[in-house]
Amino acid sequence: MTITLNHFSAALVFSLFASVVFGITHRDTTREMVRYGLYCFAMFLGGVLVAGWAMWILRR
């Protein structure tokens, strides 16, 4: 079985699972875990979008 993900969906999947692990392992309480996981997810995806736009601007 072969799966082909485009760049954005690969980044989305990566961000989701990495954020879950970061949230669980880096915080003590459930509430903090959820908050930190969401924060990591937003930072991962935000970073991808910012880097993407930065490269688009540099290319022009």
């Binding site: 072969t2 699972f17 879950v20």
Partner: protein
């Protein structure tokens, strides 16, 4: 008056080695999330298992390449260290001769990175299981 130097020099008591503090990281390395499950952290263990295993399997399905033990290029060695973190998944992959994809397109390279990251995330999960076992974390 105590100064900061003497405060820092205080001896921290060594942590007691319990069966769980050895077992949880070992089991957690072999099966991602299992180190949490045997300590009755059911939801955390399940989430870790699903996240790490899915990332690794997606990497395989994307024709990612698995690194074997080697003494050559530094990047190859680092790739091996990352991959070996996945424990049982890495052993299973080697035993079945999976992960031999030639990196001919971008998503295959993503797959290779997915597997390395899954291994590295499992190292973090193992450390977390150990911290729970020694009582440093609830």
């Amino acid at each position: 008056m105590a100064n900061s130097t003497t405060d820092k020099a205080k001896i921290v008591p060594s942590e007691t080695v319990t069966l769980m503090s050895v077992l949880a990281p070992a089991i957690g390395w072999l099966v991602p999330g299992a180190g949490h499950l045997i300590q009755k952290r059911w939801i955390r263990g399940l989430l870790l298992f699903v996240s790490i295993v899915t990332l690794f399997l997606l990497g395989l399905a994307m024709q990612g390449r698995i690194y074997k033990a080697n003494g050559g290029d530094i990047l190859e060695m680092l790739g091996f260290i990352g991959d070996v973190g996945a424990g049982g998944l890495y052993i299973l992959t080697l035993a079945n001769d999976w992960g031999q994809g030639a990196i001919a397109f971008a998503t295959a390279d993503f797959g290779t990175k997915f597997m390395i990251v899954a291994g590295l995330l499992n190292f973090i999960a193992v450390a977390d299981a150990y911290h729970i076992a020694i009582g440093k974390k609830r």
